[in-house]
Assembly symmetry: C2
Homo-oligomer: 344 residues x 2
């Protein structure tokens, strides 16, 4: 199959998205890829495979690539003096834009409105996972445990130190701090405010275990990844996570069977029909045997391909089972009724 | 000022949107309007003011209008053999598409991604108000009362009859039923399922009072409408609401001062920064003196213009204070760091 990979975007995770795309270029063996780069100004470029190197983007060289536009039915550019439309060919688009633009629902909205078949969280799923307050609210409504939290509007919290301060709407640990003193709290609050006006505080729980599981639902069947046990000192900050990004060996955990089952069951509850058409990664905490949702990554770094045994197969099965939104037929019944009532 | 009115869309409320646009054409005196119709196939047309009659759309005549496209920076069509781009001029767009496409976050995403200055709920605000489960979850997180509810997957509920059955994601009372017997419940459940796969049940509370309040935040100041007390028999069904749509006289309630203040306070709590750039109408229930949020209409019928004393002024003030999303500057710091580390 042929996939069009959308990456970049006006996002704090722009560079992660570039690395994600380069990683997938190497990891996807069975399928053909087209690369569509969205620069910080949201201009779009069709990038040749041989140019898929981070330097090509950082240097601005990408501007020599073919400019392309998103429009009804797909991506097009014009050719020649008569500006003939040329549409890009692919079987499905993969939305690989992390953070703003990609995960906040904007691109999902565009892809859906323009009827572009895509592997992407839809608008609702994006919003639920992008805003941590809504993630927790959603989890509570469907009966999934979450770590306690507070919305804070100043560096004050009812939790005892250490606590974690997070901007509500960013991924990749950007703007996140663990604080142990009021002084650190003051500073961390200012840092978080640089990224969002909605800030939350959570208690930092020592010795909590973290497990990641990715998957999707294709044709009524779940395709779940291996479970990764995350080893970390304090917590992964942006830089560490980033530098660690192209890791080749993943710690696949020797998770006991009962816990494995409970993690999988929780994943399915979260995914249900809300996350259809997306490959998501859920990060879980386990505390005293109970499973808590930490966060939902609806577009995980390099699509969490490293967690799957056969990622090519997952992509293919999902792409073949993309569910388009039901179209509404307009019959003008009411307007016609009014016209008749008016005697027009 | 000049406003471009977006209406229509692939939505069950397509016809309501047409009526909304026609209503605003008559109600807006001080400003100039451009009309952009989105048909059920999501083709866009620039419609002349003199053609703004419901029959023009119902008959299909609208297809003779100038086709127009949404793109980076606005709306354009091409002219002549050389296909020169012509961009439409306006000060701000008004998203007047009710239900799907307009209120589910798709258009908000497109408008924001393409940097189009608009009066519209943003993606997050759209999703919160479009899905009634999320509306309730959001209200609970910010400390606003909501009527109890259950997600139901079959015609069974723990509430006593009468109960209300609602598809989670539609407005204008479409697919909503009040049921008093199991037989009615079975039927109502099937009806609701025609519109959504997420269905909720609420207890129907006799003698509850309903109040509507519209408003927006412009330049740090709230502009709130008059409060409307809604008189109804059982509840407003789609047809009744629709036929009632162009009503000229609104029952402005003789609401007591204390209740007025509490309704306004609740409105502001809901609106906060989440609904910035939108004129929303909140429908409240009052039960034993307590205020409950029933639903948030982020794009109310004809923008709830009938509730405001000077709607032209509200539009102008809001348009002048539209807050654009902060743009992210990409500095390629991390990629450059990796390049250096690699010695490239």
């Amino acid at each position: 199959m042929t996939f069009a990979l959308l990456f970049g975007g006006n996002s704090f995770e722009h560079e992660i998205s570039i690395v994600s795309a380069i990683t997938l270029k190497d990891k996807i063996k069975k399928h053909t890829l087209e690369f569509i780069y969205i620069d910080q100004n949201r201009n779009m470029y069709l990038v040749d495979k041989q140019n898929m190197k981070s330097k090509y983007f950082a240097s601005g060289e990408y501007k020599n690539s073919q400019k392309i536009e998103i429009t009804k039915g797909g991506f097009k550019y014009t050719k020649g003096l008569l500006k003939k439309d040329v549409f890009l060919n692919y079987d499905a688009v993969i939305n690989l834009i992390h953070g703003k633009d990609g995960e906040d629902g904007k691109l999902a909205g565009i892809l859906e409105f323009f009827n572009i078949k895509s592997i992407t969280p839809n608008v609702e799923a994006s919003v639920i996972s992008y805003n941590k307050v809504l993630t927790k609210a959603y989890a509570k409504e469907i009966g999934v445990n979450v770590i306690d939290y507070e919305i804070i509007t100043e560096p004050k919290s009812s939790f005892d130190f250490p606590i974690i301060i997070k901007p509500a709407r960013l991924g990749s640990s950007i703007g996140v701090s663990v604080v142990k003193t009021q002084e650190e709290f003051d500073y961390a609050f200012d840092v978080a405010r640089e990224f969002d006006d909605l800030i939350i505080a959570e208690p930092f729980i020592e010795g909590i275990e973290e497990y990641n599981l990715a998957g999707c639902l294709a044709g009524g069947e779940f395709m779940l990844s291996n479970i990764e046990k995350v080893e970390k000192s304090d917590f992964l900050d942006f830089e560490k996570k980033y530098m660690d990004f192209s890791r080749k060996n993943v710690m696949l955990s020797d998770v006991d069977k009962d816990l494995t089952e409970r993690i999988k069951k929780t994943f399915k509850k979260i995914y249900n029909s809300t996350f259809k058409n997306a490959i998501i990664r859920c990060d879980f905490f386990v505390k005293e045997g109970s499973v808590y949702l930490n966060e939902i990554n609806p577009i995980p770094g390099s699509m969490a391909n490293y967690l799957f045994d056969d990622f090519d197969d997952v992509l293919e099965k999902l792409a073949k089972n993309i569910e388009s939104e039901k179209e509404v037929k307009i019959d003008f019944e009411y307007i016609n009724k009014i016209q008749m009532a008016k005697g027009k």
